[in-house]
Symmetry: C2
Subunit: 370 residues, 2 copies
């Protein structure tokens, strides 16, 4: 298992990540506290797709006492967005609505340029714009959403970046991110830039509030470094809530940017979605006859995970589907057909909203006031 | 002898620097070529205060064939400017006038913040503004002068900075600048930013021309790295012309930022100038009687160097002064009195122009068009 900000490989053991990264599991008590504000727990909490955190308890306690927080998440625009990317964003939108808080969203077009030999700046800047459309399509409130495009908005970030960079030695960066002598100096500097949105709210509004970062757990190393210096700079330590990765459609849940057939992208046309789901790895048996007799295994099935993560909100129906799969009553073909329908319905809607987002995109830019 | 971009200590051996840095001496042939355009050679060339270069010959050949160049120099705004800082700027203004070329001037308020534990950003940004007044007071043409304040203007620099940073490994940066594990990641990144003004003219105008950098030789390591990557990015290698350091007023020509009495600052009042020159280290003897008999040594005298570098433009008069010193005809008191008068006359004028510069400063800002 390899889980770094730049690479996720192998079967991910989430319990082990909690231990190795030194984060906290999401407890029943914390979930109750959240439900105290949001009413019913969000699907992604109830199913423990968000499973780990740092300082979420502190943020909730402050919130109860009247100190708000801001949400911060982001995207490395190396290509188009897939369904797995949308998952934490959908949860983030939920938090924005329920808690009535701001979101700062960082498009790291500079980072993606620095870490990939073949990337060009026009490319990563174009994808930043494209990916922003997907974000906006999810229904974020413009008045509470501030998208930062690193390359374009560096003037806004640079002073805080310098304050952060001055307090991180090469030694710390090397130990945290595994930098080597062959790493370029832009990449080495970059962690300072990812820290800035944790702190920028104070610069813009004068209010000192903590940031809560919903994101996949591979980003955790950044926040370890940021947490170490936050208080020296007069800010709260950023809190995090970590989610699992939506498994890919390949064998063993493999998903890979170099194998686009292992993910469903938001711009995929219906026929391609059908083709990908039809070719997906499942927990099915070699023959229909065998599967009718002994049932299949939904736990290892990439198609079933799509229902768990996003496409079956009703717990009872999900449970029924699981049962029918295990018992052999429902074969993979039917289950795949259902998912293709749901996916294509979702994507049709999404693509429509994404198209509309083109007219609204400036309303979300952090520099819209300037 | 230690000569790095951050520290100059000991007696500087300029011949050795040419060998160690691998630069070229300024030859008679090159000087003639310059005089071909400028007419009479500038004092700082004639007296070999500029003594070394890289690719100056290439730049002059291109110029003869109709390809202009741009000038680039800068200042690390860690405090007020002294006479030694003005020296290469005065020469730069001369080149601007004679060759009719643009100057890009970088105020590295970010670097000075990063390399000094005690520095704050408001401080270095304030000094950048103060130092710009001194630059403008020297008579640079606003239409051909573009001052870059790094922190304020990072949006203009950032895309080229990324292109540069991506092509410098930590290994190269470490070898060139002596970075260590304890160096902060901002400092490690910073050489990429110093490279940018070499290339920015193309971004602003579409013209691809070389940059010629008049500066003290301690900055050479930056240009070695920049030269290595320039052509990969589609630019000319930046050329340099290197000057000596104006010796300080302390024993052995010592000058130190922590000992302000070893330098004359542009804002020093007349009485302070008098006091500093009166206390300066000279080549004089223990008693007036002895000096009248055996003469003094102008070579080691910090006061005499002020005449050589800036305050006696007439070669014959300089030679006469040297002779009178060596012969014992003129004692140190008289020589110091003369220098105090010249310095205070110069500073009175400079301070007046510096005051006027406050109204003109925006006309010199690189972002004046935006």
């Amino acid at each position: 298992m390899i889980v770094t900000p730049w690479e996720v490989r192998g079967k991910v053991d989430y319990e082990r990540l909690i231990r190795e990264f030194g984060t906290q599991p999401l407890t029943e008590e914390l979930l109750k506290k959240i439900a105290g504000t949001t009413g019913k727990l969000h699907l992604q909490l109830q199913r423990r797709l968000f499973f780990s955190h740092r300082d979420l308890d502190t943020v909730l306690e402050l919130y109860e006492k009247g100190t708000k927080f801001v949400l911060y998440t982001g995207r490395g625009p190396s290509g188009h967005v897939h369904i797995g990317h949308l998952m934490p964003w959908i949860f983030t939108r939920h938090l924005q609505e329920e808690f009535g808080v701001r979101l700062y969203f960082q498009m790291t077009d500079d980072e993606k340029f620095l870490i990939d030999d073949d990337a060009t700046l026009p490319q990563t800047r174009k994808y930043a714009y494209e990916n922003a459309l997907d974000l906006i399509a999810l229904g974020f409130k413009p008045e509470d959403t501030f998208i930062i495009y690193d390359v374009e908005d560096m003037d806004l970030l640079y002073d805080i970046t310098l304050e952060v960079a001055k307090r991180i030695t090469y030694s710390t960066a090397k130990a945290t991110f595994g930098f080597q002598d062959s790493t370029n100096i832009g990449w080495i500097f970059w962690p300072a830039i990812q820290a800035v949105p944790c702190f920028i709210h104070k610069k813009l509004t004068g209010e000192n509030v903590p940031a809560l970062i919903p994101a996949a757990i591979d980003q955790d190393p950044y926040w370890r470094v940021t947490r170490d210096i936050a208080q020296k700079l007069g800010y709260y330590k950023p809190a995090q809530i970590h989610c699992r990765f939506l498994p890919g459609l390949g064998p063993g849940g493999k998903m890979s940017a170099s194998e686009p057939e292992t993910s469903i992208f938001t711009m995929d046309p219906p026929e391609l979605v059908k083709h990908k789901i039809w070719a997906a790895f499942t927990g099915g048996k070699a023959t229909a006859t065998e599967q009718r007799k002994t049932g299949a295994d939904p736990i290892v099935c990439s198609v079933f995970q799509y229902y768990v993560y996003l496409f079956e909100e009703d717990d009872k129906k999900l449970s029924k589907r699981e049962h029918k799969c295990k018992s052999g009553e429902m074969l993979c073909g039917e289950c795949k057909k259902d998912l293709v329908e749901r996916l294509n319905k979702f994507l049709k809607e999404h693509q429509k909203k994404r198209e509309k987002a083109k007219d609204a995109i400036e309303k979300y830019h952090i520099k819209r006031f300037s």
